[in-house]
């Protein structure tokens, strides 16, 4: 019996250094590429990377809540607004140092997250989606009223406390957005392997069974809501600085839907999927612009419909991926890898 047990372990230890070596090389190469990107890549691409990184933060947060814990949410725009307007409050009105802003945003996001998540303790599925929908309209209304009574349509100015312009600014955003985005992805991957992560998965699959097995369903759901909305609020804080002028109409229902599109397209419950989805969805407006630009003789009606075409694509992507590739781009990737390996074997 002893020999049988020892053999595979011995094999594993023999193989392990090689795997580890390969993995570390990959990680180092990735870090090198990411660190060099803002200096090598064309500025336009760096701009896109900035936006992808920013979107990744929100996509990961939504994916933990919806993809892992199974709580439908269309509330990303609302939580971003909470973060952005908290930032305005902290910096423009309370005149506190900049680093307080994300902390305050996280706290405010957490509080709103608990309120919106409370119905989740009694209801399931799409009912919850409606509760986040309500949050969307209520939060935006409050923000609108505040804006009307103070600064009006011009919006709240939120200048960065540095003297940077153009390319330097694009690089600054890169260093501000990419590390938190990577942190979020790693945190999600690790969270999935913790007790909390497994409890969330169980709640998604069957919450009555989870409760029966001793999972505190109410607490786990609320934790998911709070954590997710805190991260999205911090993202909203970063976004507020990125746009520089905060207005209530930045945080539309369509923005919230675009995040749903990200996790559906990328892959529900997958950390890497969140990145892929964020990249895909972020690239759509650029792609549509390019495509329309290919037809200089296009009727002006088409040009004015660019925004409509983008939305149409968002919707189409959501429907198509749920129907035909429920595992998203990650699923396609997996299948491609498997096909490639099996081809090599045959």
């Amino acid at each position: 019996v002893n020999g049988v047990e020892v053999a595979p372990i011995a094999g594993a230890t023999r193989r392990r250094p090689k795997v580890r070596w390969r993995r570390w090389t990959a990680i180092l190469v990735a870090i090198a590429v990411l660190a060099a990107a803002p200096y090598i890549a064309p500025l336009r691409l760096v701009t896109v990377l900035d936006l992808v990184a920013l979107a990744t933060i929100g996509a990961v947060a939504l994916n933990v809540l919806s993809g892992v814990a199974g709580q439908v949410s269309i509330g990303n725009a609302a939580f971003m607004a909470v973060g952005a307007f908290t930032t305005v409050l902290v910096v423009d009105y309370a005149h506190l140092p900049v680093f307080v802003a994300p902390i305050a945003a996280a706290l405010a996001g957490g509080v709103v997250g608990v309120i919106v998540g409370l119905p989740a303790l009694r209801i399931k599925g799409w009912y919850l989606g409606v509760s986040t929908l309500a949050a969307q309209f209520i939060v935006v209304y409050i923000a609108q009223q505040w804006q009307i009574k103070t600064v009006g349509p011009a919006g709240f100015q939120l200048p960065i406390p540095l003297d940077l312009t153009g390319a330097d600014l694009t690089k600054l955003w890169y260093w501000l957005f990419v590390p938190p985005a990577i942190l979020c992805v790693i945190a999600m991957r690790n969270l999935l392997r913790t007790q909390l992560g497994r409890q969330w998965s169980m709640i998604r699959v069957h919450d009555d069974a989870a409760a029966l097995l001793g999972v505190n369903v109410a607490r786990s759901k609320l934790t998911a809501f709070t954590l997710s909305s805190m991260v999205i609020a911090v993202q909203g804080c970063l976004y507020a600085y990125y746009v520089g002028v905060v207005t209530a109409d930045l945080f539309t229902f369509n923005l919230a839907v675009s995040y749903v599109a990200m996790i559906i397209v990328g892959g529900e419950g997958s950390a890497i999927g969140s990145v892929l989805g964020a990249a895909f969805v972020t690239a759509i407006p650029f792609a549509v612009d390019q495509a329309v630009g290919l037809f200089p003789q296009a009727p002006t009606a088409l040009l004015s419909d660019v925004f409509s075409i983008q939305l149409l694509l968002f919707g189409l992507l959501i429907v198509a991926f749920v129907l035909f590739e429920p595992r998203g781009l990650v699923g396609i990737g997996d299948r491609t890898v498997r096909w490639w390996r099996s081809r090599g074997r045959a």
């Binding site: 209801i123 989606g129 929908l133 309500a134 209304y141 409509s308 992507l317 959501i318």
Partner: protein
Amino acid sequence: MHFNALPDVIAGSIVLAGTYTLVALGWVLLVRASRLFNFATGQFMALGAYVTYALASRGLNFYVSVLAGLLIMSGLAGLTYRGVIRPLVGRPLFSAVIVSLGLATMLTPAMMIIWGPVPIRWQVPFNDSVYHLPAGIVLSLFGIVTAAVGGVFWLLVTVFMRYTRIGVQMRAASENALLASQLGIPVDLIFVLGWALSACAVTLAGTAQAIIGQLSPGLAELGLLGIAPAMLGGLDSIRGAIVGSFLVAVIQGLLTLYGTPQLGEVGVWAIILLVLLIRPYGLFGTPAAARA
């Protein structure tokens, strides 16, 4: 505030309640028939109005246009169910809801591209007239017709659900689809019928609102607000739809009068959040509906 404000609120609420009854039925019928939630219901409302308008503006008789609009939208709803919702049976409910959200996202820009973003003033071949009711309430003919259509449709649905064979089968199918199908009920057909009825309800609502006010893709937002009366009444309760509609219409009317139209709409969303927090199955719904 205003001395003659209350009659105006009452008049406005009656018309709005009629519209909400139709929209709320649009949401409730889906749950009643298939335990599903179609986020594109609001878009169906706007689309139904556009389709009816497109037919009427091409010289077709108004009543024929309405009838044709109902048929086309029923067909479209049935196709939607069969085409994109039915294939998801056995997958988490999440999927079907997200697909309907995707549909909703697609339909608004599609309508913008086809009919343009500028609201259309619909010239119907009738003259509106004004009626002075007791207590200073002033109602327009179109308003009265809207409220009446809402009431009659609600009555028809109630009778249909309670007394016809198909109506009872619909209730059975929503209660337990598997059991119902084993008893020989054509569950799939029943679900298609439920979706078609829902589309008819919102098409009528959209057409009425387009004639009273204006025709624009923004009608979808009113359709979305229709979740409030449906939820307040109970998402699986036909009776609740009419009660919820009156309550929501009155609250929205008061908030609009003493505040702004935006406050009225946000008040409706606040109602939704409160209902979800306090009594998720609404006034007349069954607790089971909230556990779908």
